[in-house]
């Protein structure tokens, strides 16, 4: 096959696999900078995936479906945030329980409701799609994909250039000191989780509404943990999270695409690659990959 056809196959695969990860990674980046180690990303994405398909097939309105998926991610985030950062429950218990709960609930309702397939059609960007070799794949995508180009700068600006973002980062680095200066630490943490829920729900809806076009049981299949690995691999910077998301999306895309191009790569190695890369980055890049100092430590005023 010609180079440009191969290139467009590869790039389409990479775009398809990376986009849900990238949406969720932006949210998880904000959540982790605020000091919350959010394990329920998987649950948020799966809830978004299921609810968007269910609503889109029930109302035949794709945008309504996507909004419903975002709302489902927000609901999961609301439960997580209030248990973990209003009530000081163990955030890992809540996160893992929500993952299992959402898995069971979506399987349950999918068996009963049996939603019909629904899919966003691809949109062709007029001039850019004529670029040879890459234009026909990157710039012919369902329109929610182009939201990414707006989202990443917006998240960067919000976290690095606003007062809200400063408070967020302070809550993640030294919540006690932040609290002493009047920053409402747990409020910022909950807000970061709500945003993570919105973006993860959007990522999940993208997976079901734009890529697959239907809901399959356990559709996300652990991609939420790839998102966490991407943020860790990226050293808790937005640039790193986006790079990690692209890299890990490419790895899982390769396991699907390479067989059609004739080469075989060990699929398990590609699936394990995100986690190995994140672990290696944590071990060998410890100086540049500094976690927020208060990551995964709950904060209660008055308790040191």
């Amino acid at each position: 096959m010609s180079f440009s056809v191969n290139a467009s196959i590869v790039i389409s695969g990479v775009v398809a696999e990376s986009t849900p990860i990238l949406f969720a990674a932006n949210g998880e980046y904000m959540a982790e900078r605020a000091g919350t180690l959010n394990i329920s990303v998987e649950g948020m994405m799966l809830a978004g995936a299921f609810t968007s398909i269910a609503v889109a097939s029930a109302t035949t309105n794709l945008i309504l479906g996507m909004l419903a998926g975002i709302a489902a991610g927000l609901l999961v985030a609301a439960i997580h945030a209030n248990f973990s950062h209003r009530l000081a429950a163990n955030t890992f218990v809540v996160g893992l329980t929500l993952d299992a709960l959402v898995l069971g609930a979506t399987d349950y309702f999918a068996t009963v409701l049996k939603p019909m397939p629904a899919q966003f059609p691809p949109v062709t960007v007029p001039l850019l799609s004529k670029i040879p070799a890459i234009g026909s794949s990157i710039f012919v995508q369902p329109w929610p994909f182009y939201l990414l180009f707006l989202l990443v700068p917006a998240v960067y600006w919000a976290v690095e250039r606003t007062n809200w973002g400063l408070q967020l980062r302070a809550s993640g680095e030294n919540p006690g000191a932040a609290d002493a200066t009047g920053i409402r630490v747990n409020v910022r943490r909950r807000q970061s989780l709500y945003l993570c829920g919105i973006l993860s729900g959007l990522g999940g809806s993208y997976l079901s509404l734009c890529i697959v076009g239907a809901f399959n049981f356990d559709m996300t299949a652990g991609v939420g943990f790839v998102v966490i690995a991407a943020v860790i691999f990226g050293g808790w910077t937005l640039r790193g999270a986006v790079l990690g998301g692209l890299l890990f999306g490419s790895a899982s895309a390769m396991s699907l695409v390479l067989p059609t191009l004739g080469t075989t790569v060990n699929p398990q190695f590609l699936l394990a690659l995100p986690y190995m890369a994140a672990l290696v980055a944590m071990v060998f890049l410890a100086k540049t990959h500094r976690a927020p100092a208060a990551l995964a430590q709950p904060f209660t005023r008055g308790v040191s």
Partner: protein, 414 residues
């Protein structure tokens, strides 16, 4: 790094006062002042209102309400699907404990949950938050399968060797996280979480490649990748088999280990050191406890128990390694331990309830409700079980902060 889990014991945070005692030392150590004609400074505001039993009653009542709410939501889901709550509850009870065969299967499911939960409790008590039990279980099962399938010898010896290999495999897998923590300060939660998925892929690879563990007679391309079955003499003996009461001997192993560790945790020096390392590593180090050793040891021990759970599952129930070998037992054990709130006495009942939901849930489909309801029920029950302590603790903190603020203002005005 001690991640603080919410503990139920209300420890006093005001210096100089023990739980329940009025704060008279503060008032009596300072020189007498005129605080006004009627009032004397005591710490009475800092005591909880009502009698001491009010706390327990409040906690128990809240547990009842939360569990009832969880069951209520589940029954609403049943009604939404067109089933009847009564038949679903009946199926759950009868499917899990209604007959000797069912009871045997539930006990079989309790074994891995109990072992993993015991390990988790030990690690959490030392301050090491291990969430990689699934990976340790799977890797332990894999090591046990390697020994059971590749080593030839007298059946019982190979069986024991397989179980030991499973224990060692799980310990080694947790050991990686322990080494990373001690050597490079990698967060234990992150390390164990990432290692879980690496372990899953390793085992997946092993059962898909003929050179390692894949069953030799695998014919179709699309069939599930799995290892060969264990030979009959390398399996844990079952006194009796379904439909009569049949549980693998793994339950004896699990119960013995539970008893041994309960005694060790409560009565031995190691148990005290464990708790000290988790509560305040700096103070423990000053006291002479080798915190790094104790904490890493606890993490490795929890991995060992999870690996043993994998080995017991392999030799007692499943008899082969497959892709989805862990079958959420790792997560169930972790959640069971955290529902127990650091009380080893609760481990057995809570693990049994988890196993009951799993076994009974298989019978939901006969009543017209998808089996996935069991997972929903379990998740709701875990949320219901963690809500009361944290809610009451939050209320108590808020009340104490307010009382302390009032006390401070009053003494400043004096």
């Amino acid at each position: 790094m001690a991640t603080s889990t919410s503990s139920g014991s209300a420890s006093s945070w005001v210096a100089g006062s023990r739980e329940g005692e009025p704060l008279t030392t503060l008032a009596s150590s300072s020189p007498p002042r005129s605080v006004g004609p009627d009032r004397e400074l005591t710490g009475a505001e800092l005591e909880p209102p009502g009698s001491r039993y009010a706390d327990t009653i409040r906690m128990v009542g809240l547990y009842v309400i939360c569990v009832a709410a969880a069951l209520g939501i589940t029954m609403l889901l049943v009604l939404a699907v067109g089933g009847t709550p009564a038949s679903v509850i009946d199926a759950l009870i009868r499917g899990s404990v209604g007959s000797p065969g069912a009871l045997g299967r539930t006990l079989d499911d309790t074994i891995p949950v109990l072992l993993v939960a015991l390990g988790t409790l030990i690690a959490v008590r030392a301050g090491m938050f291990n969430i990689g039990q699934t990976g340790q279980l799977v890797f332990g099962g894999f090591c046990a399968a390697l020994v059971a399938l590749k080593v030839h010898g007298p059946g019982p010896l190979v069986l024991i060797a397989a179980l030991l290999a499973g224990t060692a495999g799980g310990a080694a897998w947790a050991g990686i996280a322990a080494v990373l923590y001690t050597w490079r300060r990698v967060n234990v939660v992150i390390a164990t979480l990432l290692l879980t998925y690496i372990a899953t892929q390793i085992v997946d690879y092993a059962v898909s490649s003929q050179s390692v563990l894949e069953e030799p007679s695998k014919s179709q391309i699309g069939s599930l990748a799995q290892s060969a079955q264990l030979p009959a003499n390398v399996r844990l003996p079952h006194p009796g088999s379904y439909p009569s009461f049949g549980v693998s001997l793994g339950i004896v192993i699990a119960l013995v280990l539970l008893a041994v560790f309960m005694v060790l945790l409560a009565r031995s020096r190691w148990g005290v050191h464990l708790r000290m390392s988790g509560a305040n590593p700096v103070a423990a180090r000053r006291f002479g406890v080798r915190v790094a050793l104790v904490a890493s040891g606890a993490l490795i021990l929890s991995g060992a128990l999870a690996g043993l759970a994998g080995g017991a599952m392999l030799t007692g129930q499943v008899y082969r390694i497959q892709g989805g070998f862990a079958n959420t037992f790792g997560n169930d054990g972790l959640l069971a331990a955290l529902v127990c709130r650091d009380r080893p006495g609760w481990l057995l009942p809570v693990s049994f309830v988890f196993a009951m939901i799993r076994t009974g849930g298989n019978y939901f489909l006969a009543t017209g409700v998808p089996n996935y309801l069991a997972q929903v029920l379990q998740g709701l029950l875990v949320l219901a079980a963690i809500f009361p302590p944290v809610y009451l603790e939050r209320r108590e903190w808020a009340r104490r902060l307010k009382a302390a603020r009032v006390l401070a203002l009053r003494s400043a005005a004096a």
